[in-house]
Symmetry: D3
Subunit: 292 residues, 6 copies
């Protein structure tokens, strides 16, 4: 029996203790300072890790095993409470560092605003980046209640940064009239309600492209993911999201980074939201980070 | 900054403060005195309003905005605790008043018995009224445990009042053998298990008719609506109910009133039941109350 | 009004008080001693009975009434806490007794290991027994953390006992690579992800066979059954499981016993898991135990 | 191993299966039809029984064992949903029967209105009855929202029936101004906030009297009993209520009947309310029903 | 029956609809942007109002009735999400307005930082203001994680503004070593663990002074108030806090304003935290706002 | 910003990463295999660590700071599920190791049976060991349901091992008649109901003795610690337990090891049980492990 080291910590199952030899870095962004309705996603990353202990290391979907991927779990970036500007600066700097070292960044939110600094960092490295955005909400606001930095604005900002024509949204079932109008006018690609079906059609067009994928857990119906800040009825099942993850794994795109955001455990006493999220992370590790 | 009036109250989002200029009246019926298994729907109306703050005012399903409809939220009728007879008398009188003033009554329950006095009031105004009943349960009992006034009896009473051939039930997956037998013998229209598919077939037959629609939230599977008194496995998704609401909006019937009942928040710590209900109310406001 | 006997007890709705004249015996196995992630299924049987009071006695799926079946609810076998070996010995002895008296054993778990002693007892009586196993997990481990007696091993043991070619698993979406490899190598029949569709294909092959059916509630998606120890995203709906139960009822197999396991109520404050389970038990009583 | 009888039912621990040879009858009154704020006490009796399995049969407070008392658990009287008048008639008739047979009635509520018919039955047998009422609320209203039959009125009715001077209330911390005024004017004995201390002073005066004791669980602080319909901050601890029960056990009064009401399990996911209630019932059985 | 106005809104029970004729203004500050451990107090004000419906309007503690006080419930100030600086500016401006109109401001938090702008506004009007601070935490940090605006700093700021010798803290059981050291060095008055006893000693010294009182609900033990962001074991009972409120009501100080903060409903499924808070507000209305 | 090491793990706040230079070792025993009523304490150690992040590092009770103590958090011993015998062998071996290396073992349970192997290890080193046992339950059974290894037996076993006269139990409020009789006959010291008061009297007698202290969280009232398997009404407050911890810190005994057991988080959605437990651990670290 060992004595001089701890038996376990709260890390994603089977993560590699060595940063240098890892290809992927899982990192948490425990931030929910701009969330309007029900905050709490700052605890998402820790709980997703915690329930990963209940996962099998093998995926019958992919027929792959987590041993085939080398990933390091970096814990949560220590973001300053209540300060969105400094938080997003820290995230951008962190991603800059990971990209410089050639790692695949796999982020756990936290609110959706965190994707904005991530994209800024990726944009410096990849000038033709495509964004795949899977979400219940458009997130296309210019501002929210007078704030430019809000969980409702990151995709709008992304359109400005990457070019609207490089932004693809799927599963959208909520937003302001102006946001849907912007989507039409700007030339971005917005698919309402469904994910798997429109994705299937779009993927061939994206062959060979460098793609960042951001998944807001609230694209799932509240039946499947009640633990989120802005649960919206009429969503997809976790089975459908697993299908979408498989499709991307099987596609000819080059996924260069990804995140899964808005898991807010306090609203789900059954823990099923984080249980699903942690399975999605396993599949992303297996299918996206070591694509041939 | 204002000082002499309150910043907000618990009303459905964007409701009009002026009764006279409103076309629709949202009203609550906080009653659950005859509920057998798990009471608590008396708190449904208040919680549906409360979570409406999390809704967008625009519907991407309808491409309409709540500003296009004028509705007044009248709060909850002050029904006397534990007194079914007086409660239903008050509801009937209330609906009489709304119909006299030419309003579209949009009711929030409360237990399903509340639909009975509503129908009595409508029947006085519309002698050819059709009832569309979307529910997990037949509600066709003559009495329940010896009580004539019960949440299990309103549709049976409706058959007597409106003529069984004018009553259409959808999504039914629970009831007594006698109730299903009655449905067959009486000539009413009862569709088991599904809602959208049989509704699609029936709607053309109802073109031009005056129709009242009552939705029991338990038609949804408990995965989607656990917050209800008699949750019954094997139900439809909230996506399917949204589809049904769209179909009715697109039909050639004349919807003259509607209610949504049996939301019992205490049984759903995730709040997803009222979150779904409040979205259905938005779609009903947009699609049913201002049909051309 | 009666005075000298109790008005009710916690038994499955409409169960017959007379053991001798009953054809079916419902019995509970309140055991979860080998469960790794989240224990608590020892309370499953009691809660399934408790919510059965909310069920109708008539099934619109089957068009049958519980009065048509004679079943005795034997309560829970008093298994010794924390002692898997003695517990499974007691279960085997209990089933031996029921089979000797010609009863149909309908078991409520408890963890899935309980199926192992049940199968041992059945195997003594039926030498050509087929096992239908509906579950999210393979349960094909040889051992778990060094333990031979584990909730992860019963189907592996069953393959040894009954012959792998007589074991059919459906709905499987989690397991070790070795388990899936064993399934392939051994000649057992393992169908991933879905239940109803592969079952439909297989059932004709099993016509005339004596079949035992074990259902792990976690085959349902956590949206439908969060109250279980190892909830796994991406599962089937309760509607689909009802369909599967109907198919078996309509098949030409001879169902000789069944169990429903792994309901752990503490993880589901909405009670929907036991509400669904209790409906499945009603349908099993109506469709499997009195097949012509 | 036995086969022909059930292993257990949901009865209070160690209750005697034989009505005739029992001295005490535990009975439930699953009624909450007149409860205004948060209903749900109809499930109180069943849950109190359920958690009694976690109790020891021996009391270190009393140094007595439940084997020393003979009590029969009659289950719940089947009260008609939503009908207060018929419900209280049935309760009165039931208590008439128990008193005729010389049993000690020990009731489990249910809402507090149930005490009214119980007192009517006792009054027929004991013309000098004293009522000890332990509660957070005065329950001295003449009517509630126009209803004469309400959970807010039983003690007022009791004053009329038994004579106000024979009514003693303890622990009261909520009521209308008129109720406190009535208490003063009528000559009844009302002690605010505390229970044990004023009880100690009063008990000697009641030596030799026939006394009925009714305990509303909400006399406990919500810290100790959140599972009740009208939780009121500032209450006593469960330790203090145990002390009060001991004092009554040690007094020279003759306790002829008792009830414990208003346990509403749905509001307490920790189950501590019913856990405390079931301990109080054990102590009452040991200390009050077999006083020398 | 009325039709043209709503039956109710979510306002504190019996509040006066007329701002001008009211002496007291209840207002909410739905802000928790700087909360580190468990956010959610932004929903505190709405839930305190909601459960006020379960309160009696009369207090047996004070022998007073809410009709004796004229108060207007202004709803929640619409604070901008995630922007502490703008939020506190708005609060200060709001209080400036109330004080100018001669109202007694009675605030509902929200996080404790809200007290800082309130004190700034009061300080402009009262140059000798005393602060009574009832809390589990010192809140004496100069900054928190680098942020000057934090829920951990308001009392430190108050010491600078009002003079440390005018600041009295009670019930403190958590803080950094530096904070306790500051309390000693600065000359402020800090009483550990208890509230009622040290308050009793201090109150005579404050006779005639203008006093603002801020209560952090977490001064209560988590047994009494689990619904708060930084629950800390070892606290006082709600009975003790009621005693403290009475003492202040009976004192010779002039209370000129008050707030109750940090009620975070999501962490308390039993609702007992807001139930207690709403009772404290009633007692404050009765005892502090209309002192002779 | 660092990249090559994780930002955090789930360890007790401020624990030292270096085993060798630490004086104290915190270790978890995630075992609940013999728990009868409500299992789940296997998750206690992880949750106690998790909420330790909400604690201050400084104690105003002790006027000490966690920096003054060197402790290593070893994580949870990987005990084999469902195997009590092997689990307790592993624990004994682990403690043997810690004692050999001169560490102070501070254990987190897990069920109370874990204290038995710990005591066996300590007994080998200290032949005059005294046991202080703070608990709601006697834990003096010879066996439980036929099992010698049970969470109800460890103190009985301790009496055999250490001599009954060296065993002191406090706060006991539940047990079998035979257990209380054994306590009397054997000469052990059992104090009912209270902890602080009898402890104060006893401590001088134990001056200079080597003492092991085991605390079962259920000694607290369920108001303070609902998250435990066998919650028992009528317990002490967390304030009282903090007092007892201070008394032991101030005594002249030599505390050589300690544990805190039976925290079962699933039964406490408010998390107050683990919040209290984690504060107790801080006080034990500060007051017991570095006594002069």
């Amino acid at each position: 029996m060992k004595f001089d080291e701890a038996y376990s910590g709260n890390v994603f199952i089977l993560s590699n203790p060595d940063f240098e030899e890892s290809d992927v870095v899982i990192y948490g962004m425990p931030m929910d300072w701009t969330v309007s309705f029900r905050p709490g996603s700052r605890f998402g990353p820790a709980r997703i890790r915690e329930v990963s202990l209940g996962l099998e290391e093998y995926s019958p979907y992919m027929d792959r095993h987590l041993e085939e991927v080398k990933y390091f779990d970096a814990g949560d970036i220590p973001l300053p409470f209540g300060n969105p500007q400094r938080s997003i600066d820290m995230i951008e700097e962190y991603i800059d560092g990971l990209l410089e070292k050639g790692k695949f960044p796999l982020g756990l939110g936290g609110e959706h605003l965190v994707t904005w600094p991530i994209l800024k960092a990726f944009h410096k490295k990849y000038d033709d980046l495509v964004l795949i955005h899977i979400d219940a909400h458009t997130d296309l606001r210019e501002q929210y209640e007078g704030e430019l930095l809000s969980h409702s604005t990151p995709v709008r900002k992304a359109c400005g940064l990457l070019g609207a024509e490089n932004v693809y949204s799927f599963g959208i079932r909520s937003g302001m009239r102006e946001e849907f109008q912007f989507a039409k006018d700007s030339g971005m690609h917005l698919y309402k309600f469904d994910v798997a079906e429109p994705l299937k059609k779009v993927l061939p067009d994206l062959a060979g492209r460098n793609v960042y994928v951001t998944i807001d857990i609230d694209v799932l119906d509240p039946a499947h993911a009640p633990g989120t800040g802005t649960a919206e009825a009429g969503g997809i099942t976790s089975k459908e999201l697993l299908d979408a993850i498989m499709m991307i794994a099987d596609s000819d795109m080059k996924v260069v980074g990804a995140d899964l955001v808005e898991v807010a455990p306090a609203y789900d006493p059954t823990e099923k939201t984080q249980i699903a999220a942690s399975k999605f992370i396993r599949e992303i590790l297996l299918g996206w980070t070591n694509k041939k």
